[in-house]
Symmetry: C2
Subunit: 223 residues, 2 copies
DNA sequence: GACTTTAGTCACAAAAGGTGACTAATTCGG
DNA sequence: CCGAATTAGTCACCTTTTGTGACTAAAGTC
């Protein structure tokens, strides 16, 4: 993330690291090297030898100490919008991290998505893009499980889905659907959380299941 | 798509143009400028002033005479794989075109996806990526309608879905789901196709409809 | 006019999904 | 020690959605 006076064409890799902090999603920011009062998404100039995914993982590891549990390219950005490194092209990635195991290195902080610091226009587009991708992947990839620690209660899982969908879910329906999908298996541990009956801990363990037998889905279109 | 001896860092925009040709999807290829015996996806060096989307649309327009009915960025590619222009980074787009209105300019040809010409490794990844995106967008965006002419019969629409899903669909279910989604409206025209009762023509005309009331969908995950 | 072919609809059964009420296991306050 | 409060987990019922075969409709063919 060194400064580089704009010399010929060069490109960066930027990473939007997302976690679930309590009742809100949060994104990781780094103090800008040029202006210590400003924050930016972690980024680096791309290395020619490395794949873009490898670069993105390395950037995440540098700020978090460990790689994200899931990472995906959002898009390349090349419009006229300003970028902190003045890059011609920036390739943005979104990565997920369970909040429990994610302790940012000094100089890096989680900001709740509802209260982000001022940002360069290009990086703002990246944040928006990462939110869109998370929404879109929610029922295609096991995103929710990548935001939770290895074992979790079904209550935690449901709360996370309610956060990601911004919608209350009914307990019985949620569990019935989860069972039908063969995505989790119970451990033999239970967690007592203050008062109330202890909750059983589950782990993400998807089983092969026969290909869905359903027809077309017009209902998800155009939301 | 000019030749350019690899000089410092530069990037290209490549476009995968897809159409539905009879019972198969087809992709548009251009004769390579350097080796007239080889084919490649249409590509150009990116212009600094233009957005990536604008460049992609322009490239498509240059080979087809008109812009695609839908276009979306697939991804940026920067691994060591070879690219016909020796670009460091290539940003790939997928575009859709109805076959009826798409007449490629001389030097460009549709190849059915089952029988593609030899391709540089990077462009092969782009073709694979475009197929993945089309599959994934199928129930999120009105992709199918962008592969059909302005008016079409419900039989044609269903056949296209069967092609895209590689799966037979039941006529009554298909139409019931289509009606519930308020996506098409009938015109007052009918088309007689040889023998059999004539089919009514429809047009794509999505109506606003209340947000779906459903809970989570675990069933689409991990296919 | 009878037969074939394709379009379009209906009605029933099966599956999936929404919902409130129930049981279970724990803490807390007396 | 006992009952209220609290959170977890399940059940049963009903509604909605979806799969499916059979039906009617309108054209061409012989």
């Amino acid at each position: 993330m060194r400064d580089r006076s704009s010399k010929s064409s060069y490109h960066t890799v930027d990473v939007v690291l997302v976690t679930a902090m309590g009742n809100e999603l949060a994104i990781l920011f780094t103090r800008s090297t040029s202006d210590r009062e400003r924050w930016s998404l972690p980024w680096k100039a791309a290395q020619g030898a490395e794949t873009l995914d490898a670069t993105a993982t390395r950037i995440a590891q540098d700020v978090l100490g460990e790689p994200p549990t899931w990472i995906e390219q959002i898009s390349a950005f090349a419009d006229g919008k300003r970028h902190p490194g003045n890059a011609d092209i920036s390739v943005a990635f979104v990565g997920l991290v369970p909040h429990e195991t994610a302790s940012p290195r000094p100089g890096n902080t989680w900001f709740p998505v509802g209260d982000l610091p001022p940002l360069s226009p290009r990086q703002r587009s990246m944040v928006e893009g990462s939110m869109r991708i998370i929404q879109a992947r929610l029922d295609q990839a096991p995103i929710a499980f990548r935001l939770l620690p290895p074992t979790f209660t079904l209550g935690e899982l449901q709360q996370l889905y309610e956060l990601l969908l911004s919608k209350r879910l009914h307990k019985a329906s949620f569990r019935r659907a989860l069972q039908a999908a063969w995505l989790v298996e119970p451990t033999d541990e239970w967690r007592s959380e203050g008062r109330g009956r202890p909750a059983q801990l589950y782990r993400y363990a998807p089983k092969k299941r026969r290909r869905s037998h359903r027809g077309v889905r017009f209902d998800l279109l155009h939301p």
